[in-house]
């Protein structure tokens, strides 16, 4: 695996990309948000301290999904009126990028997907049906969320967000879909709910007393 090395333009610390396609990373030392350009890294922002959270997952956690090993290389933290959740950025061992969302220990793995004519956020209602990739999905919840911070490597630039709407869809087969309205153009992620044990996670955080 290629591991391009650069230095943080802010503090000079060594920046290692674990995933060659990463577009953005966060300096682990000074928390500068760094975006890759053709020639070097550019500091675009600064991450405030992330809220203390209790996810058992952390950067460098390894696991297995669909017979493929993955490592957690980054995350985006969101807040909503019921708390916070993490979108962990996974680097699969075949080079693909995936997401492991972790909301109060409810886990789902999803992949970016393409579909034409995605509905604008204002047009979607709970209970509405959509069909993508031959699967039908029902809108289960529309979440107005607040971007809280990032960590590690991401496949796109993601740092100047505030309020983001998410539309979560489910179906009776345990499949899961998310419409992400972070950008003017909606983004679709398709995946499924997973059992914690099935991910065979290693390098998890430890909890006092457990």
């Amino acid at each position: 695996m290629t591991q391009p090395v650069a230095n943080c333009p802010n503090c000079g610390a060594k920046i290692v990309f674990r995933w060659s396609s990463s577009v953005q990373t966060v300096c682990e030392y000074c928390k500068s948000i760094l975006v890759r350009t053709d020639v070097d890294l550019k500091k675009v922002g600064q991450v405030a301290d992330l809220p203390p959270d209790a996810s058992p997952i952390q950067l460098s956690t390894e696991g297995i999904y669909g017979n493929k090993a993955f490592v957690v290389v980054g995350r985006i933290v969101y807040e909503y009126d019921q708390g916070a959740w993490n979108e962990w950025h996974l680097m699969m061992n075949d080079g693909a990028s995936a997401w492991l969302s972790d909301a109060q220990e409810e886990y789902a793995v999803s992949f970016s997907a393409k579909a034409p004519n995605l509905p604008p956020a204002a047009k979607v209602e709970v209970g509405e049906l959509f069909s993508w990739n031959g699967q039908r999905y029902t809108v289960s919840v529309i979440t107005p969320a607040h971007y809280r911070g990032v960590e590690g490597e991401l496949p796109f630039q993601y740092w100047d967000k505030t309020d983001v709407t998410f539309v979560d869809l489910r179906n009776e087969m345990g499949k899961f879909a998310t419409l992400d309205y972070s950008d003017p153009e909606p983004a679709l992620y398709l995946g499924e709910f997973v059992e914690f044990d099935d991910l065979k996670l290693k390098n998890l955080r430890s909890f006092e007393g457990w």
């Binding site: 060594k14 290692v16 950067l59 708390g83 109060q104 489910r170 709910f193 914690f196 909890f207």
Partner: protein, 442 residues
């Protein structure tokens, strides 16, 4: 991972159990869920606090009930449930009101930092292990489908929260009312909770108090389960259909035996004679018939009496006598036939024939002694007596059939009465029990 990965200096510290103080009364508050909980209740002053707020803002205060509710599993207790360690971090009492009667139950919030939340409910000694559905059940008015299984609608009722303790994974409030719809597929239950337009589906599996006590290593014994709970597995472990299939198989075997014995039976008529009785006849009423031979092995002997009775009876005292040994079989038979009309229409009783089978009669030369007694209204009547040896006896099959029938009948009855008491508590009580309340679920 390669060796080039820098140490993650930014790794946050190991999450710890937090000890804070209640902003209302200053009592110690322990946060066991590492910040996963939404609300926490002060054990001392019953303030509901915002667990997400470092200052634990007070969200609600509720009146201490006159009699406090004590969780059967104390907060902080750990136990192993289906292979995973869980800690009890929250407790609430809720009640449903059905036709003016309040049915209280208890719910426990369980937490594991890796596996998240899980719940236990307890009602009258009946327990359920509950988790939030990861997949979306389909709801089809009257039934719900989840993971390929069909759940029958059991009850829809309002559930009010009236007491809370500890931590909750949601914004809990005392006095909050949710509409709870339960669907059952014993031992599982599917619950749909509607609160402020938000729908939460959860799936539960019945657990016995003993299992809970073992899992959490609680002292003493669990409270005894009362009545039949909505998703309690039936004590009839055997599949009722299967037992009837087994019964049918035995019945077929029995029928086969019956048919083959019938085919093997010689049904050999050895004697037949007609007699005529006249009231005017004087002399000894009894007489003996001509002799006949019963050949072959010891076998059954059937004596058949036929008389054209019509609203009369005749009674014959028989003796089957072995001419060689003098051994005799005494028996009396009646032939009577009555019929007529009454307010219910026509009726009839009896018939023109009577048969009797004597088991195990050895071979030999035999004759019959007959002593007739007749209806006083009869002046004369003819009758025919015939003797057949080696006839099949079906009575034994009847007994065998009845004995075979007993277990499936008992099991079916037990299953039926259990299901009946289960459903008598539902929105769909069995017909006889729905005393006038005929509202359907909508």
């Amino acid at each position: 991972m390669s060796a080039g990965t820098p140490p993650l200096s930014g790794v946050p510290p190991k999450p710890q159990v937090k000890a804070l103080n209640c902003p209302q009364c200053g009592a110690a508050i322990i946060l066991r869920s590492f910040g996963q909980a939404e609300t926490v209740v002060c054990e001392s002053c019953r303030s509901i606090l915002d667990a997400k707020d470092p200052k634990l803002a007070i969200l609600q205060q509720f009146e201490k009930l006159t009699s406090d509710v004590h969780p059967l599993i104390p907060l902080g207790t750990r136990g192993k449930l289906r292979g995973t360690d869980y800690e009890v971090i929250g407790f609430q009492r809720r009640h449903a009101t059905v036709e003016g009667i309040s049915y209280p139950w208890h719910e426990y919030v369980l937490f594991n930092p890796y596996k998240g939340f899980r719940y236990l409910s307890e009602y009258n000694g009946h327990w359920n292990d509950i988790s939030v559905c990861k997949q979306l059940p389909t709801d089809d008015h009257g039934s719900a489908n989840y993971l390929g299984e069909t759940y029958r609608h059991f009850q829809t009722s309002d559930a009010d929260t009236d007491f809370v303790l500890g931590e909750f994974s949601w914004q809990v409030r005392v006095g909050e009312r949710a509409v709870v719809t339960d669907y059952v597929h014993p031992p599982r239950v599917l619950s749909c909770e509607l609160l402020d337009k938000e729908v939460t589906w959860s799936a539960g599996e019945y657990m016995y108090g003993r299992e809970i006590w073992d899992a959490f290593k609680l002292p003493g014994g669990p409270p005894e389960a009362q009545g039949v709970y909505e998703n309690q597995p039936s004590p009839v472990k055997t599949n009722v259909t299967a037992i009837w299939v087994v019964f049918a198989a035995f019945a077929i075997v029995l029928l086969g035996l019956m048919m083959s014995f019938d085919m093997l039976a010689k049904k050999e008529q050895v004697f037949q004679q007609s007699f005529s009785w006249h009231r005017d006849d004087r002399g000894e009423p009894s007489f003996v018939t001509n002799g006949f031979d019963l050949g072959g092995r010891t076998s059954t002997v059937q004596i058949r009496t036929n008389a054209p009775v019509d609203n009369h009876w005749i009674y014959l005292n028989y003796a089957l006598i072995n001419d060689d040994t003098g051994q005799a079989w005494d028996f009396g038979r009646e032939v009577s036939y009555y019929h007529g009309y009454d307010s219910d229409g026509s009726w009839s009783d009896g018939g023109l024939n009577d048969t009797v089978v004597i088991p195990s009669v050895p071979s030999g030369h035999y004759f019959l002694r007959i002593e007739p007694e007749m209806d006083p209204t009869l002046s004369s009547i003819p009758y025919t007596v015939s003797v057949t040896r080696d006839v099949p006896v079906f009575g034994i099959y009847g007994i065998a059939f009845a004995v075979l029938l007993l277990p499936p009948l008992l099991i079916s009855w037990r299953a039926y009465t259990f299901e009946r008491s289960r459903w008598s508590e539902s929105d769909h009580p069995p017909m006889q029990l729905s005393s006038g309340s005929s509202e359907d679920d909508d």
